[in-house]
């Protein structure tokens, strides 16, 4: 029951994108790949709407001592970044040291878009990058309609769904 409560709490927090403020704690997937020693949480000032500026506060925490922390921000099309130097050097960080950054953007259209915060830590000259996408739900969102396809979904003769992707081909008489 406790595990269900934590899951539900995490799910509610993560699905709270439609609320005016949200702070997302990372969920616990089953068995995941390793990542760089930096974590992120974020909150946004208000519900996002087309044509209106949106402010997102990002808190980065290094989980180890690092020699440098570098942060860059990019965004999906339809999210216009405002007043943010897209690359910022924050210098050496101690374990559990936090950096607060404010990102301003302006949605250009309703839908689900992402800001991408790429945090790169450097230790003994070795860079390690971790990407933190921030979902921005703008207006009325039908996320499934926005999905990009990698090919045409068809059904084979057995009714199994198959995505057909075009090949580059070379057809010729056999020697």
């Amino acid at each position: 029951m406790k595990k269900l409560n934590v899951f539900l709490m995490s799910l509610l927090i993560l699905l709270a994108g439609c609320k005016e403020t949200q702070t997302a704690l990372p969920a616990q997937p089953a068995y995941s790949k390793p990542h760089a020693p930096v974590e992120m949480t974020f909150s946004q000032s208000a519900k996002a709407s087309t044509g209106n500026d949106l402010s997102v506060e990002v808190v980065l925490t290094t989980t180890k001592d690092v020699d440098d922390l570098e942060v860059s921000v990019t965004a999906d099309n339809n999210l216009l970044l405002l007043d943010y130097p897209h690359l910022r050097h924050l210098g050496a960080q101690h374990r559990q040291q936090t950096q607060v950054l404010k990102i301003s953007c302006q949605p250009q259209q309703d839908g689900l878009y992402y800001l991408y915060v790429a945090a790169t830590v450097v230790v003994k000259g070795q860079p390690q990058t971790r990407s933190f996408p921030i979902p921005v739900y703008v207006g009325e969102v039908n996320a499934s309609q926005q999905l990009k396809a990698t090919g045409v979904v068809e059904q084979d003769a057995n009714g199994e769904a198959i995505i057909s992707m075009p090949a580059q081909q070379n057809l010729r008489p056999a020697k």
């Binding site: 995941s32 989980t63 990058t129 999905l147 990698t150 070379n170 056999a174």
Partner: protein
């Protein structure tokens, strides 16, 4: 009475009808199903929705079924009859109505395939895909893209979507099929799937979790077979246009499949009769490193969830399709889960973390296995804008990177030890060239059945028992990772001493209790990290001399936490769990436990979630 109930009855009937999914009607809660037709050149195409509501079309245009469906209803558009000399397929033809008209059903018509009556001819060639290698910092180097063979994948010749014949590509990507001569509009399709039945069996599929789990495939354009044999090569391109992805990322599913090919061949080399449970690897260009709705790609990170693997794919965030070490790391979890035993509790982790011993072993094994399979000690994971960033882990650097954390709690130490035991290179403390077989043997035998939690201790103890001639060299490797191999005399890591990372109250790794004996004091701490950090969970071992019932209690003795939980294991199997919210104590009662060795796990629930610091409990049996 009837007049008062009637409106309610009508309302109930309306609700029931709305949920039935096939009814038509008007009103604001009903939506239309439609789309477009292309390629129709002549004749009549007849579509159906949900097996009814026939719709006849004679030209390329948009269409709408005249029956509307209630919100939440399912729809399934199919072809009832094809136009003359044409064959039509439906895409985006099924789903659930979600508060909007459905307008994206796409029906595509092409010249129909006609099987010839001529002598059989051979169509053969090579199937390849773009493999994008890494830069030294772990990013992707698109300028060095090479063409690799698609190995072991299903190839089908199809005629109007029916399979005429099929085969499998060989180890260098070649295939050969025999089809009737004189066939018109034949298609060749390569599935992102490897499958074999029999003594050795497998079924690995790369599917799109954002398209209902549809299987990826590569398709030729339609071609005719004459009287002579044909050579047909197909290539899956990366889709990279020089500064961004500009076309179909057809190579990605085959890059993932290729990594799995290497991963399972390594196991087959140890046991040629291995029967691999079916496995779906979910990848999509929409798969983003955000937790949320998997159906729209919010998969959190690349991971194995105990049943399936999910792989990131969103450009400019984190794409893992070309990160073969990442794919094989996750496949390593699948292997451990199905053929060995993984007591790993998962969670966030990386080099330099001080981890629960179960997590350290499971994740270290995944990293090491990726290097073992590829014979490449450098694990690379691309990420960031244009995939130019990322990071690398070098199995050979002996954990001199992040934090210099070494020990039985370090995934870095585990990966370093395992890889050094495997590889043929000898340097520093590494004098071993054992290969994979001794490691595999322990994983699928002793480690699978160990009485302890799966860790470097349980693994190394058994490895040494099986390889007595290598004990000195194994101990040297362990010593280089701050593990005293000479004291490693059991599966529980007894005898390990404090070091720069671990202080006294964290040892021994397993405390020992006796039934009816004195209380054992253990402390749960989130000093290193919550959930899966070292010391969040503490372990107590005990032996039952005979079958009996048992009551275990934990009572707080100090600290800020107040919610102890207890989990009882036998051979890694959870026997019982007590996780109430009772403040400051917990009781676990179990009946008819058989004689033997058990492991009890205690943690403060607060340290599994937010972190409450060191909290100690007296445990009695």
């Amino acid at each position: 009475m009837w007049l008062r109930l009637k409106p309610l009855a009508m309302l109930a009937m309306y609700g029931i009808m709305a949920g039935c999914g096939g009814s038509s009607g008007g009103g604001s809660n009903f939506y239309s199903i439609g789309g477009t037709v292309s390629g129709l050149t002549a004749g009549t195409l007849v579509l159906q929705n949900n097996g009814t509501n026939d719709l006849s079309l004679t030209s390329n245009s948009s269409f709408t079924f005249n029956s509307r469906l209630a919100n939440g209803s399912t729809y399934n558009v199919t072809v009832l009859s094809h136009p003359v000399d044409q064959y039509c397929t439906v895409s985006h033809g099924s789903g659930t109505v979600s508060s909007a008209n459905v307008v994206n059903v796409a029906v595509s018509c092409m010249a129909s395939c006609v099987l010839g009556a001529g002598s059989a001819i051979n169509v053969s060639g090579k199937i390849t895909f773009d493999r994008v290698p890494h830069t030294t910092n772990g990013g992707l180097d698109y300028t060095a893209t090479r063409q690799d063979p698609v190995r072991g994948a299903i190839v089908e010749a199809t005629c109007n979507n029916s399979v005429v014949t099929s085969t499998v590509t060989d180890g260098i990507g070649d295939y050969s099929v025999t089809v009737p001569g004189g066939t018109e509009n034949l298609l060749l399709r390569v599935k992102a799937q490897m499958q074999q039945t029999g003594t050795a069996s497998w079924n690995f599929r790369v599917v799109d979790n954002t398209s209902g789990g549809a299987l990826y495939s590569l398709s030729s354009t339609a071609f005719n077979t004459g009287a002579g044999n044909l050579s047909l090569d197909l290539h899956a391109a990366s889709g990279w246009g020089g500064s961004s992805y500009t076309s179909t990322r057809a190579a990605a599913p085959f890059a993932i499949l290729d990594s799995v090919y290497d991963a399972f061949q390594k196991v087959l080399a140890e046991n040629a009769s291995t029967q691999f449970p079916a496995l779906n690897l979910n990848w999509s260009i929409n798969n983003v490193s955000v937790s949320g709705n998997v159906a729209i790609g919010q998969i959190s990170t690349s991971h194995f969830n105990g049943t399936e693997i999910f792989i990131l794919g969103k450009a400019n965030d984190d794409t893992d399709e070309y990160d073969d070490h990442v794919v094989i790391h996750e496949w390593g979890h699948y292997f451990e889960h199905n053929f060995s035993r993984a007591d790993n509790i998962g969670g966030s982790h990386g080099s330099g973390d001080v981890l629960d011993i179960r997590v350290a072993f499971g994740e270290g094994f995944g990293n090491a296995y990726s290097a073992i399979v590829t014979d490449d000690p450098v694990y690379a994971d691309a990420a960031g804008n244009l995939q130019t960033g990322g990071f690398t882990i070098n199995m050979e650097d002996n954990c001199t990177d992040i934090g210099d954390v070494r020990g039985w709690y370090s995934e870095c130490s585990v990966q370093s030890i395992l890889y050094d035991m495997y590889d043929t290179a000898t340097e520093g403390a590494d004098a071993l060239t054992m290969g994979f077989t001794p490691l595999y043997d322990v994983l699928v035998n002793e480690q699978k059945n160990t009485l302890a939690m799966t860790s470097i201790f349980s693994f190394i103890y058994e490895l040494k028992q099986n390889n007595l001639g290598d004990v000195t060299n194994i101990n040297a490797l362990l010593a280089a990772q701050s593990i005293d191999g000479s004291l490693l005399t059991d599966i529980y890591g007894s005898g390990q001493v404090t070091n720069n990372t671990i202080s006294g109250d964290a040892l021994p790794v397993y405390k020992t209790a006796t039934v009816g004996g004195a209380a054992v004091n253990v402390c749960s701490s989130s000093e290193f990290q919550v959930y899966n950090g070292y010391e969040v969970s503490r372990f107590i071992k005990f032996t039952l001399p005979g079958t009996q019932s048992l009551t275990i209690t934990a009572v707080k003795s100090s600290g800020a936490g107040n919610d102890p939980d207890l989990v009882l294991y036998r051979n890694g199997t959870q026997i019982a769990i007590a996780e109430t919210t009772t403040v400051n104590n917990e009781t676990l009662s179990v009946s008819n436990l058989t004689a033997g060795d058990y492991v009890l796990e205690l943690y403060d629930y607060g340290n599994r979630t937010t972190g409450v610091g060191s909290t100690c409990y007296n445990v009695t049996l």
